[in-house]
Amino acid sequence: MQTIKVCDVSKNYGDVLALDKVNLELQAGKIYGLLGRNGAGKSTLLKIIADRIRPTSGQILYDGKTILDDTTSRQLYFSEPDKTFPELLKVKELCYYTSQFYPRFNFDEVQKILKDFGINEKKRLNQLSTGNYAIVRSIVALHTRAEFIFLDEPTLGHDAVNRELFYNEVLRIYREEQNTIVLSTHLIDEISNLLEEVIFIDRGQIFLEDNLENIIISHFYLTGPSEQVEQIERLYSVIEKKENFGFISLLVHRSSLIPDLSDNIKTSRAGLQDIFVAYSKKRDK
């Protein structure tokens, strides 16, 4: 599969609009970060893409086709935090059944990796701690080596050591497969180094979607004495303005060239999380 296109997708749960005319194109061979606050619509969007639930309106195109058939459904894997597997299944059995559906799943390799994470393959899924369950489902998901892998909150409940092991595993599978991996999370800073593309979602709308580097280099802080900053403020698209003790700090999007700044105004870079928070607050207003 080369592309998955989300076309004008909306989803209502009763009166609640969970997704509002979302358009998105996912391309082969990239790691995406689907980033948003709790309840932003991340899981709903992924469930619709994975064909677990139907949109209220709009459609998903898999290489231009509206339906996942027996072949194309094996090119896609969706792993969600809800406990959707039969709870009496043993870890080993989950691996076995997954390998039956995804032929590139290497049963022996996965057993070894799960052992490295300290997981007993003979345990039933309902006997696992929250953290270990998350490890099992995310490792199993990565090792389907499907062309499009969607991981919804993959590190929910992982401790710091296991999160790092897991991120290494994401990059290893990606280097080996050059597939598309979509990581949906609210832990933005933690995964930003893994990403090539960033999708910011808030209240059912995608409000920013771009290459990670483009986002980082096109946003920056301008800080200086209030009067001087106010003089140049109108030259920029301002996302956030903080005033403290006679100083103003602006987070701006560079839409045009930077004019010569007075010596008293300093520029500095913003991280992905700062940028996300600033946009979200602006949208709250």
Binding site: I31, N168, L171, L212
Partner: protein
Amino acid sequence: MKLNTQDQKPIYLQIQEGLENAILAGTYAEETQIPSTTELSQAFQINPATAGKGVNTLVDEGFCYKKRGIGIFVKKGAREMLKKKRQTAFKETYLSPLIKEAKQLDISMENLIRWIKEADDANN
């Protein structure tokens, strides 16, 4: 070479600068191979595309060249070229902020120059 994830400088620029520093220091001699995109991605836990961008900038700016199917190599004369590039950037990166801060603190030019000489003597 070390990455600083707290630093908000884009990671690909940090990769590029780290490799430049290693070439300047002679860690990667001219006509020898620099780490591959895969190795950098593994070592620093970063997206291979990000690592690739850092490496490719060195190729685009003419400090390194690609040997097809083998990897990226340091060009002959790259160290001198890099020194020139860094010298040009020196004014902007180091002198401007230094002078700005000196002015804010009413440090005279004479004093500043004297301090630089003293610091240099102390280092030698």
